[in-house]
Every structure is written in structure tokens, then in C-alpha cells.
Symmetry: D2
């Protein structure tokens, strides 16, 4: 049994750069200046990308591709898969594979207590006792659930039936492919950020995934990322 | 604690009829005959819908709408939400609500044992002993998981944290809205049918949901449903 | 030959009301109050819809459906069809049908002259002379193009070949089906409005279509429309 | 004035290989064999890709990306843009740019005459006279339309207004980004092929674009392309 308080995000493949945005914009909306000139003129490139972001010319941000490997609890994937547009997924299947005993337990810095009303929740620190109770209750519950799973498998029951007892805190893995536009939409809802123009209330665990995706993306497309931040973290 | 061996599907709202298909086809592909004439000539309506299905003119099947209320285990919803195109979802939230203690236990007629290899699985009857073991293992495991959930809630832990121990066999509810084309795509993958032109290997529990959706849809759009069946249950 | 300075938009079918939003929100995010109570309490309904809009809970706005019949020039449809998500289209086909001689000529109130740079265009009144020139140049050009089309058809040339000479000012017709969320996204980009939080630069002709769609929608879903306006005309 | 009888398709960027499919399938559906083993065993890779195609496991074919530059007449783009899912577009804008005088005239091998009824059209050779008439009628019509466009531009009329007279045979350019799954769906409808399991009736000009895309794709992903062909040219 493994109890994990963190997620894994790896950029496994990409074809994504700020130049892709400039090329795509060039064919439709750019002026008379050639792309070669644009590339020699970083200030102008930055300005063009900023203009596209601000005026919501979204399509130039779609001609690129990033594939991430993600390992996270099922309850994170449940929220993740609600993002339908510009996202492709392949997740580990509990029908084809025996699921492994890895489960999520919140770390010490995870705020455990929520106050306020829907749309205005504030999370506050849990007490040491609450942390201890969560850890003990989760580890015991996970262990017994996995034992029930194993008991059924050993009795010859199909994986797809036996898995019903496994908790949504079980770790799963997937490949997720997106483009800069669909990623920005995801980030706008799944990160909480002081620079944001609009409020967002992500669950901390999906935000942990989102923050790592954002860091990887910011390295690939620094001008686009900067324009996203400068324009209030709203997808164009 | 409630242990259920069945799912719930209710058509709560619809704007869907075979005439919608005829109208849409009429604007683009139909010949010189007027729609009024078409409606007076059921054989010809049937023929036009069949032609559209056979030659994969898919768009005329999109100008309609059906909203279903579905209550099913989380593992069914996990598969359901992978259908991204032409589907809208609103599911009960474990962040905003305390989840209720209703869990899935396979009924007597659920085949429990799978044989063969991926892509060629065959499910066969479980023994009475296997059924008994599944029922006992599941009910005990579900009960302890829910107790751990309650224990954490009572200690003041946020719902979104405590829910991690709840199993994927927990019942959830949602509204799902689709059109005839997106429904046909869903049915082609999530039902197993002798008339089907292509193989499909749905998990029985999502097939139970799919079969009830299909029954409701067949009443609303009988000519379209008949053409779907006659053309090998492949979405146009 | 018909020369038209206006577009046609008719709501031909709908299943769309503010209550649809309340139901969908209820299943996922609403609090303990029942829907029956909500409906008796219009202020609260208004508040819930406004909260969903503000915090970008977009999915509750998808469980509804509107089908429009639109007649407009091809250059409008070219822009229209770039809206891919949550829209279904069936357009008159120049392969299956002989296209009719109806063409767009700007009316007296269409501003003909643009000043400024991309992203900052301002349209100003054309002179009477410019209007006269546009009308004469267009009508003459359209007429000769249609004659060439007819000449080829009469010589036995296939419609799909002969149509190449027809101008993008030719009127076409289509059915377009959307939901409130996809419509709001469309409106946010295809109307220009002082209340808008973000700039938009629609071509006037597609804005004419958008304005009529908005008027029809506002009657069906007044609370949702009001919340859209109050929140800066950005889609949730 | 340029009169062209051919289209241009260039693969400008890609991140696409058969290995991408194997990786994605591996995470969800593959058996116990490791990917390293798979790659050493080409027959098994071929078998796995063929199995995914046959049983319509479509998602593993989405984790890749191809960007094409396309130059073709507007009537081709009109059909192209009806493909909404898994496609991104940026097309030359007649609002931001003055369109160039390049127009489509069918070549000698384009069959000009259609016989039969909708869904059963057969195209047959045009006579030398018909070819001559088409060439003359088109060139004359295009020339006069472009003169009217120029006349209006010179009088200070905005580009977005003046373009209304330009024919759908005018060449435009775009970047189009897709993945193998969305490309296969496109090819299944926009090419006509004896191996195809289902009928398709593409207009020859979009088929010319599709054939070149297919050729470029077949080099990048030969096993996937072979499986597509072997399974009747239907997208999984």
C-alpha cells in the first residue's frame, strides 16, 4: 500500500512555440510585415501575441500540441474529464488492468476545513488532530477497500466488477493532449490566482496538476504565457 | 445504507422528432419535393432518413435535443463523461453536497466472470458462491468506507477532502443532454447488439443506462431509430 | 435578380427556459433549497443564475436548445461556421440545388468606410457617391456572375462546377441549432456593445444576424439574458 | 489575374508517429507486454494498431498533431470548415487583407457533367466544347468580378464590404491543424475509394486536398494508415 500526498505531471511530447502563434496569426490577421521581420523584432512579436489575447482571437493559439503524463487520484480525473473541447485523454482502465494500491492522503500543507457558502468558500488550516484523523481514517479505509478488491479478484470475479469498492482517492494515470488555447481555458478555471480577472474555486488537488502544467507550458511558450497572465488569466 | 442493483434513467425534456431530421435535410440535400408532401408520404420520409443514415449525412440528426436524468454508480459516469462531442453534463458535486449512502451491488443476472483476452472477453455466469461473496464483500466495504466519510465530516473536515474514501460504486446523479447523432455514437459503443456491424464491448452497467436511453429515443424518433438499426447501429 | 440589404432570422423551434438552468444547477451546485421553492422565489432564481454566470459555471446553460432558420450572404455564413462548439448546421447545398439569384447590397445605413488599424478599426459613413458606386458595381457584377452560372448550367455543366463564379454576396439559407452557452459565446464575439467587458469587432452583417438571435433568446430566457448583460456580455 | 487548376497542400509542422498511438494505448488497454518490447516487435505493434482501429478505440489516435498549409478555392474551404471536431483553422481574412486575383478553373481531367440522382451521382467527361465554355465563362466572370472589387477599393470602400462580389472560386489560404483521428474522419467523407466500406461522394476539388493530406500522413504514420485502409477507411 502506498499513500501519496502529491501528483505527478510530465510533459512527454510537444510541438508548441510562440512562433506557431505568429505563423497562424500571420495568415489571417497580421499586417504587411513579414514573419521573418516579426521574428527579428521580439517587441513586435510580443505585441502581436498580446493583441490576439486581448481581443480574443483564439484560433491562432490552437496550432500547437502538448502531451502530458498525469498520475493523480480518480477524483481529480473526474473533474479533469469535464473539459471536453481541445482535450484528448487515455486513462488507465480498471476493466483491462488490475489497479495498483496507491492512494491519496492530504499532506501537512493541505487546508482541511472550509468556511463560508458555495461560491465564497475559504479554506483554513486544519488542526493537528484533524490531520491525524484524516490520515488514519483514510489509510484504514483505503486498506480495507483494497483488501475487498483483492478478495473478489482471487475468487475469480472480473476486474470491472470488483473495482466498484475502490475509492475515488485511488491513483490513476493518463495521457492528456491539449493545445495552448484549451490549456488556458483549463488553467483559468483550475488555478486560483491573484492576477485573475475572474474568480475561480478549484479544488486544491486539481490545482496542483494545473500548476505543473502551467510551469511546463510557460517554458515552451513564454510570450503566450506572459500575455495570458497580463490579460487576467482568461482564455482568448 | 442502500444497496442497488439497477440504474435510473428518465427523459425529463425533449425537442426531438423525425420531422426535425426531414426539415434539416430539406434545406440542404433534399430534392424538389416539398416538406409538406414528404410528411404526407411516410414511405418517402422513411426512405430519406434511411438514405441520410446510410450515406453518413450526419448533420441533419443534430437539430434536436433530449435531456435525461440519470442515477448510476460513479464508475458508469466515468465512462459516460468520456463522450465529449454533442453531450452536456451536470453532475451532483461532492464538493457542494454531502453524498448519500447508496451503492451498487450486481444483481443475480449480472455475469461476474470474464474469460478470454482484451477485445475478445466473454462474460459467463458466476457461481452462487461468487455472487454471495461479491454481495458480502461489497456491502461490508461500502459500509466501512461511508463510516470513514462520516467520521471525517463530523470532525469538521471539508466534504471535498473526506470524499476521497468513497468508492466508485457510489451512486451519483446527473442531467445529460444530447442530440440524436451524439446519442447514436454513444449507443454504437455502449450497447452490444447482434445487429451491429462493428463489435462493441460495453461494461454491462453503462449498457443498462444506454438501453433505457435507446428505448426512450426510439419512441420519439421511430424512423430515425429504425434506420440506425437497419444500418448496423453505426452513427452517421 | 433580387438585391437585398437585410438578413432573415427565424426561431423555428426551441426547448429553452430559465428553469432549465435552475434544474441543471440544482443537481450539482445549488444549496439545500428545493427547486419548487426556487421557482416561487424569483429573486432567488435571479440570484442563482447571476451567480452561475459570474463564477463561470457554464454547463448549466447547455441543457436547452434553439433552432434558427437564417438567410444571409455566404460571407456571413463563412464567419458563422467558424463557431464549432455547441453549434449544428445544415446549409443549402450548391451541389444539390441550383442557387437562386438573391444578392446582398448594403443599405443606406451601412457604414462603408473603415479607418484606423486592425483591432482599432472605426467605420464611418460613406458619401452618397460611394453608396451609389457600391450599389451599381455590386448589382452589375452580381448580374454578370449569375449569367455566367446560368450559361454553364444550360450547357450541361454540373452545378458544383458552375457555382465557382457565384459571389460570396449570394444569399444562402441554413438551420443552425445551439444552446444558451454556445449562443452567448457567439454573441460575445459577433455583437458590439457598450456594456461589453471585452472589445469585439464584428462585421456589421453577421452582427445583424446576431442581434436578431439575441432578441429571440432574450424572450425565451429573460433571467439568463439579463445575467449575460450584467456580467459584461462574456460567455460563462 | 491567375487561373489555377490545382490546389496546394504542405505539411508545415507535425508531431505524429505510430509510436504515439502505442504509448497512448499502452496506458489504457494494452496487455502486460512493455512498450519497449512492443517496439522491438513490429508485427505486434501492427497487430495492436489494427485491433484498436477495428474495435473503434479511437482516443489513442488523438495524441498527435499535424499542421497543414492549404491554398484552395473558397468553395473548398466552405466544405472543409464544416469539420468541427479535432480541427483548428486560421484562414486568410478578407476583412484584414486585400484578396489576390487567383481563381480556380477546372483542368482538362476534371469531369464536368453529373448524371443520376442525389446520393447516386456519377460524373462523366465533359466534351471539349464544354471545357472551352467553362474556361471562357469562368475567366471572363472572375476578371469582371475582380475589377468591380478593385473599383470599390479605389473609391475608398472597406475591404469587408467590397469583397461581396468576389466569387467562391477565389483562392484563399489557411493553416489547418488536426490529429490522426480527426483526419481519418475527414478522409472517410472527402475521398472516394474502392476500398471504402461505406460510400462517399466528395466534390473532386476537396478530394484533391484530402488526397495530399493522406499522402503526407501515410508517411508519418504508416502502420496507422495501413490499418485505416485495411478496415474500410472508416474512422475509429
Amino acid at each position: 500500500m502506498r499513500f501519496l500526498d502529491d501528483v505527478t505531471v510530465e510533459l512527454v511530447k510537444h510541438s508548441a512555440s510562440d512562433t506557431d502563434v505568429l505563423w497562424a496569426a500571420r495568415v489571417s490577421t497580421a499586417g504587411e510585415q513579414s514573419l521573418e521581420e516579426l521574428e527579428k523584432d521580439p517587441e513586435r512579436s510580443k505585441g502581436l501575441i498580446n493583441f490576439l489575447m486581448r481581443d480574443r482571437h483564439g484560433s491562432p493559439f490552437e496550432h500547437n500540441s502538448m502531451t502530458f503524463f498525469v498520475s493523480a487520484p480518480i477524483f481529480v480525473f473526474r473533474e479533469f474529464h469535464r473539459h471536453r473541447v481541445g482535450w484528448s485523454y487515455n486513462e488507465e482502465s480498471g476493466r483491462y488492468r488490475e489497479l495498483q494500491p496507491a492512494f491519496y492522503v492530504p499532506g501537512e500543507d493541505r487546508r482541511l476545513v472550509q468556511e463560508g457558502r458555495p461560491g465564497q468558500y475559504v479554506f483554513v488550516e486544519g488542526t493537528a488532530e484533524q490531520h491525524k484523523l484524516v490520515r488514519q481514517a483514510m489509510e484504514a479505509s483505503y486498506t480495507r477497500s483494497y483488501e475487498a478488491y483483492q478478495e473478489m479478484l482471487e475468487a475469480g470475479v472480473a476486474r470491472e466488477v470488483a473495482r466498484a469498492v475502490l475509492p475515488v482517492g485511488t491513483f490513476s494515470t493518463m495521457y492528456a493532449t491539449c493545445n495552448a488555447r484549451s490549456l488556458m481555458h483549463f488553467l483559468s478555471l483550475r488555478t486560483k490566482n491573484e492576477q485573475a480577472k475572474v474568480p475561480s474555486f478549484p479544488q486544491r488537488e486539481i490545482e496542483m496538476v494545473a500548476e505543473r502544467m502551467e510551469a511546463a507550458w510557460a517554458e515552451l511558450m513564454p510570450l503566450t504565457h506572459a500575455a495570458f497572465v497580463a490579460n487576467g488569466r482568461v482564455a482568448p
